[in-house]
Amino acid sequence: MTTPHLLEARNLEIRFGGVVAANDVSLHVNRGQNMAIIGPNGAGKTTFLNICTGWLKPTRGQVLLEGRDITRLSPRDIARRGVARAFQIPQLFTEHTALENLLIAVAARDRLSNPLRDLHRIPERAEMMHMLEMVNCADVAHRQVDELSEGQRKLIDIAIALALKPRLLLMDEPTSGVASSEKFAVMDILVRALHEAQVTSVFVEHDMAIVERYADEVAVWAAGDVRLRGAPAEVLAHPDVIRDVIGEVV
C-alpha cells in the first residue's frame, strides 16, 4: 500500500461568477519539498491556497491531507490538523510586539488557558525566542509589529505559522513588498527555518529568480488549471512558461 501524499487536490473546481479560478485541478505535494506555484495574476493561485486552508469551499473536488478529506473543514480545523498559512499581506496582531505575536500563536497551539499565568511567563517563551532567532528577528522581539519593516513583518508572519509546528506551510508571495535587496536574505532565512523545523511548504511566487533558487518543484497555474509541473530549471525554460508567465511578469 502506497503512502498518501502530504497534500492532494483532486479535481478541484471553483468559479466566481464567470471567472474560473480552478477547473478540474489535480495537484499533490510530497513530504519535505518546497513547491512553488507560478502563473499570471488572476490565474487562481491564491484561491488554491484558500481552498486548501478551508477559507473557500470548492464547488467540486476534494482536498486530502495525508489521505484524509479536509475539503469541508473550517480554517480552524485545518490549522489544527497541521496546515499553516502565511499571507501576502502579513496578518499580525498589531497591538502586540513581535514576541507576543508568537506567544499568542503558541497559546493557541497548546490551548493555554490558565487565567492567572502571564503570557510572558509561559514555558514556551524560550522556544519562541529561538523561533525569532531562526527568522533573524530576535533584535525586534519587544517592538510593536507595526513599527517593523515589511521584510521583518513577513518573517514574523511566517514565524507565527511555524510556531504552530505545522506539517505543511502554505505561503502567498513570501517576498512581495520586500525590498529587492532583502528578498534573497528573507528567503535564505525562511528556507533555513523550514528545513530546521522540517516543514513542507507550498509558496505562490512571481519572482522567477526566487523560484529558480529555492523551489524543489514548480507548478504552473494558468486559467484555473495546472498546465505544467516539474523541476524549476525544466519548467522555467519551457517556451509556454516563458511566453505566458515569465513574459507577463517581466
Binding site: A79, F93, R109, P115
Partner: protein, 316 residues
C-alpha cells in the same frame, strides 16, 4: 509614584467610613458600579462596545431579590453567589448568540436583549413587581442578623475588597494567554482562525467574564439600595457604564473604578448644586475628557506619572 498613589487612594477610600461616613454609601454604590464597568472594559479590549450590559447587572440583582423572597434566611454569601450565578448563566445564554456579531450589530443586539428583559420586568408585574421592583431585605451574615449601619459598613468593605480582587483578577486574565487571545479579536480575527482558534469561543470567554463582573456589581448595588427595579436593566444604565469606561480610560481596569467614583461624585454634587442641568454638566465633563484627555482619567495619571503599566492594562 505609579504604585504609591493608587495604594494611597485605596487606603483613603478604606478610611472613608471613619473619616467621612456620609460618603460611605455613595462610595459603595460607586464601587459596585465600577465593578460592572470593568465588565464593559473587558469587552472594549476586544474592540467591542455593549450597550446592553445592564442586563446582567439587573439579572444578578433580581436573582438575589428572588432568592431572599423565597428564602428569607438566605445568607449574604449565598445571595452574592446566587446573583453572580444568575449573571453567569445569562451571560452564557446571551453570549452564545451575540458573540457571532461585531461592531454596531454586537452593540445593538446587547441593547435589544437588555430591553427585552426590561420589558419583561415592567410588564410581568405579578412576578417582578413591575416598575416598583422587588425589595431586597437585609440578609443575615454568616447566620447572624446585623443592624442596618453595621450591614452597610460590612457591605462597603465587601464591595471594596471585591473591587480590588476582581480588578486584580481581570488584569491577570487580560495578561494571560487566554486574555491576549481575546484581545486579538480587536486586531486580527482572521489570523486567529488560522491559529486553530474559534473567535466565537474566544469571544465567549471574555463575554462571560464581562457578564459576571456586571453581575457582581448588580447584586452589590441591589443589596446596598435594598431594592431592585427595572431601571437596573434600562438602556440608560448600560450607556452610563460605557460613559464611565470612557471617562476612566477606555480599556483600563483601574479606570473603570476610578471613573465610577469620579462619575458618582460629579453626579451627586452636580445634581445637588445644579438642579435640573446636572446631565448637561456631566456631558460637558465627558466632552472635556474626550477632547483633552482621550486616555481618560487613567491616561491623565500616566501622563503626569509615567511608569510601566501592568501587562493587562491598556495605556492608550
Amino acid at each position: 509614584m505609579t504604585r504609591l498613589l493608587p495604594a494611597l487612594l485605596v487606603l483613603a477610600i478604606a478610611a472613608v467610613p471613619w473619616l467621612m461616613p456620609n460618603l460611605q454609601v455613595l462610595l459603595t454604590l460607586a464601587l459596585a458600579k465600577g465593578i460592572a464597568v470593568m465588565g464593559v472594559t473587558v469587552l472594549l479590549r476586544a474592540g467591542q462596545v455593549s450597550f446592553g450590559h445592564a442586563l446582567f447587572f439587573a439579572v444578578s440583582a433580581y436573582a438575589a431579590a428572588f432568592l431572599i423572597a423565597a428564602w428569607p434566611g438566605a445568607d449574604l454569601i449565598l445571595v452574592l453567589v446566587a446573583g453572580v450565578a444568575g449573571a453567569l448563566v445569562a451571560g452564557l445564554l446571551v453570549g452564545l448568540f451575540v458573540v457571532r456579531y461585531r461592531g454596531i450589530f454586537f452593540s445593538m443586539l446587547n441593547l435589544a436583549f437588555s430591553m427585552i428583559f426590561w420589558s419583561f420586568l415592567e410588564k410581568f408585574y405579578h412576578l417582578t413587581g413591575g416598575a416598583d421592583g422587588k425589595r431586597i431585605r437585609r440578609p443575615p451574615v454568616l447566620g447572624a442578623d446585623i443592624g442596618r449601619s453595621d450591614f452597610e459598613l460590612l457591605l462597603f468593605y465587601i464591595t471594596l475588597g471585591l473591587a480590588l480582587a476582581l480588578a486584580w483578577f481581570t488584569l491577570r486574565w487580560l495578561g494571560s494567554p487566554r486574555g491576549h487571545l481575546f484581545r486579538t479579536i480587536k486586531t486580527n480575527e482572521t489570523r486567529l482562525q488560522y491559529l486553530g482558534m474559534s473567535p466565537r469561543h474566544v469571544m465567549l470567554s471574555g463575554y462571560v467574564l464581562s457578564a459576571v463582573l456586571c453581575g457582581v456589581g448588580g447584586v452589590l448595588m441591589g443589596l446596598s439600595q435594598g431594592v431592585v427595579t427595572p431601571d437596573f436593566a434600562w438602556w440608560v444604565r448600560s450607556g452610563e457604564m460605557v460613559f464611565i469606561a470612557v471617562l476612566g480610560g477606555a480599556g483600563s481596569v483601574a479606570g473603570a473604578l476610578l471613573g465610577a467614583i469620579v462619575y458618582e461624585m460629579v453626579r451627586i454634587y452636580a445634581s445637588a448644586f445644579a438642579g435640573d442641568i446636572w446631565q448637561m454638566l456631566l456631558g460637558g465633563f465627558l466632552l472635556i475628557i474626550i477632547l483633552f484627555a482621550p486616555g481618560g482619567l487613567v491616561g491623565m495619571f500616566h501622563r503626569f506619572f509615567p511608569g510601566r503599566a501592568q501587562d493587562g492594562e491598556d495605556r492608550t
